[in-house]
């Protein structure tokens, strides 16, 4: 698992994940993602390069989403693969981890007031 953090214009930060979000992948993203979420800026997580996800990886995403929300920010997941999308949908966490399919859709989601 590789994690890269970039600016996402004026909207917040973009996190690019590549690899498996499994037990080891979750460990690798835990600190950088928690640190970023602690700044409470909006976060777009580009999931296109994640080819596997388990609940331990979802847990890291949920914790980051909750941390961001405490500062009235938002976290969205950008374009996960169909198989990863199925896991996220089955987990029933789309309220906390909304999925967008393009960067434009991400900007629109982040610009909406919290709770909408």
């Amino acid at each position: 698992m590789e994690i890269t953090i970039l600016d996402f214009g004026d909207s917040g930060k973009k996190v690019m994940l590549t690899g498996k979000l499994d037990i080891v992948g979750a460990q690798k993203i835990e600190l950088p993602l928690a640190t970023l979420a602690g700044t409470r800026s909006n976060i777009v997580i580009d999931m296109g390069g994640v080819d596997f996800i388990a609940s331990i990886g979802i847990r890291q995403l949920v914790m980051a989403s909750k941390a961001v929300a405490r500062g009235a920010g938002k976290l969205v997941l950008l374009d996960p693969t169909p198989l990863v999308t199925d896991v996220l949908v089955t987990s029933g966490l789309l309220d906390l981890l909304p999925i967008v399919r393009s960067e434009d859709e991400a900007r629109a989601a982040l610009s909406r007031p919290a709770g909408t």
């Binding site: 499994d22 037990i23 596997f52 609940s55 847990r59 949920v62 914790m63 198989l83 987990s91 906390l96």
Partner: protein, 151 residues
Amino acid sequence: MSAVAETRRSGVSAQGVVALDAWVESVGRRWGRSERTVFAARLCIAELAGNVVEHGGATSAEDHIIVTLHCRSNGIGIEFLDTGAPFDPTGSAVVAKSAAKSGAKSAAQPAPSGSATEGGRGLMLVRAYAKDLSYRRDGPYNRIEMTVAPD
């Protein structure tokens, strides 16, 4: 049981879970199973193995996991054995590991981490992706059997 089966033994560790996952992916592809079926098998095994690592109370190098994959016409059959604390994933029943085996080892817990929202997702995923999920205690092992198959 099916005629074609492969078995892998792993230690109870994060790296062991990763190695198991790579093996499941390799076997599933070699058998020509669909990407979706192989993914489901990987997910179920990763969740069960991860649960053993996090909550199974393993204390020695002898603790281990044994996974057998069966190539079936309707998908992949999975036998998952572990020496962790007695734990029934079919009904969330958590039982303290016997004193004789565990000593001071504490009872396993069903994946809690901060809140109900974050914990317990793994077993929910196993129940969602697997069919014919069954459990029994088999000597020192938790024995979990299931099938993953295309919808």
